[in-house]
Subunit: 264 residues, 2 copies
């Protein structure tokens, strides 16, 4: 008899060409692309594989460390899966690692935290090379004001003001464990000619879980405060009021990347 | 009467979709895309504009700071050109700056130096996001050995061993003014989840001028020495012998970007 085991997969993808992670009837999704490659490799149908992602990333959102699990009776050694999958997957999706999952492991329900980054491009003109991975903001951004907003978001709060209408969370209390804003710069890599690197402003956030669109609303609010479109203190006011209207715009999907899922 | 002036343009482009800079009859090039936008803006034909790039970047090669000039009788203020061009150009080409050129300025002949970078991705699996901008090398690379080769390349030498057969240079003596190899890393931006950043190995080279394919042959030789496919000392041997066979492979175009052109 074939023994079924659960495999945990780490994936990176450029979300540009996909209608998000989750399988849909009428659009190309990352889940379907991975299911197709797994099926070609193992002969197992999607219903058998039960491929499940830790995060249902939205259309256009990227991943550098999405986690997923699937069940297989295949004799392919677990550690060979990334190499075999990468010969079958489109080049904008890469399997980075595969591990035998612990008993009871579930990519979504076992997750203890997630890390995201959001990349802004602050310059008069949009980036030619990194255009698929950054939100172009052609206005000056006051990073001190933006960091002030981030400080207010840190810690355990009721983030219901950040809950986009599409969300279905039972509770809107979340803990942001880390939030920082880093500036790019020519000095980082020694070269003076990387004008796109110099224009990079990168937001890192890590928390126990995130509401639907929460990081993009946070990024958009930071930008609005940074460019003077919203008065400073927006995040603190919204956490007190619970009112989405105290916050700024929802930043576009293509600046966002899921970087890590924590299970420890 | 219309007064014709010369404008110096700074451009960035993702070379993926283009058969290089130089106009061709049968393929889409960056020069043609910029000529088309300039014609739509000024009404002037390519023959009148005389758009000339500092460097004829090859098919697939990128630019973060290509320089070019064109002649125009348009009344459009010089500093408005980037904004106007960017509304007409495809998103993978951006005009970054425009300046009135000094008397006698010629984008190619006035150039006093160029800076390039070459990006390697050293990891078991290729990058999903940065796949268009890095050469994936799935073998361990000894960066100390690679830096040793770079040290040999520094300074004024006869680089004829580095001259690809397509070159037409009168002399093969060139001076490399700067050459360094930088490693990416999670610590740079504070986040731990950027697995593609951590796999980045970046070569910077700056010199008075470069022979055809010279940077790609240098990058390929560094990689071959770094992975043990060529014995250390390859660059020194090739500079002494003038023999292309003492060097390594020509690294693929998509890892290369022209970052700056110097005129001072």
């Amino acid at each position: 008899v074939a023994v079924t085991r659960r495999v945990r997969l780490t994936l990176a993808y450029d979300g540009t060409a996909y209608a998000g992670w989750q399988r849909q009837g009428n659009a190309v999704t990352v889940q379907e692309a991975v299911e197709r490659a797994l099926r070609a490799l193992t002969g197992e149908a999607p219903e058998t594989l039960g491929l499940t992602g830790a995060s249902r990333t939205d259309a256009g959102v990227h991943a550098l460390g999405q986690a997923a699990h699937f069940d297989t009776a295949s004799r392919i050694p677990t550690e060979k899966f990334p190499y075999a999958l990468n010969t079958l997957l489109p080049r904008d999706i890469r399997a980075l690692a595969a591990d035998d999952a612990e008993d009871g492991f579930h990519a979504r329900f076992s997750a203890r935290g997630k890390q995201y980054r959001y990349d802004f491009h602050r310059a008069p003109h949009a980036p030619a090379l990194q255009r698929a991975f950054r939100w172009h903001v052609p206005y000056p951004l006051d990073t001190d004001l933006m960091r002030g907003e981030l400080d207010s978001a840190l810690g355990k709060h009721d983030f219901r003001a950040f809950a986009a209408s599409g969300g279905q969370a039972k509770t809107t209390v979340r803990t942001i464990r880390m939030a920082r804003l880093e500036t790019g710069g020519a000095d980082k890599m020694g070269g003076t000619g990387d004008t796109e690197e110099a224009a990079l402003l990168r937001l890192w956030v890590e928390g126990d879980a995130f509401l639907y669109n929460m990081v993009r609303i946070l990024a958009g609010t930071l930008a609005d405060v940074g460019m003077g479109r919203l008065p400073p203190g927006a995040v603190a006011r919204a956490l007190a009021s619970g009112d989405r209207l105290d916050l700024g715009q929802t930043a576009p999907a293509h600046g966002l990347a899921l970087t890590r899922v924590f299970y420890a």
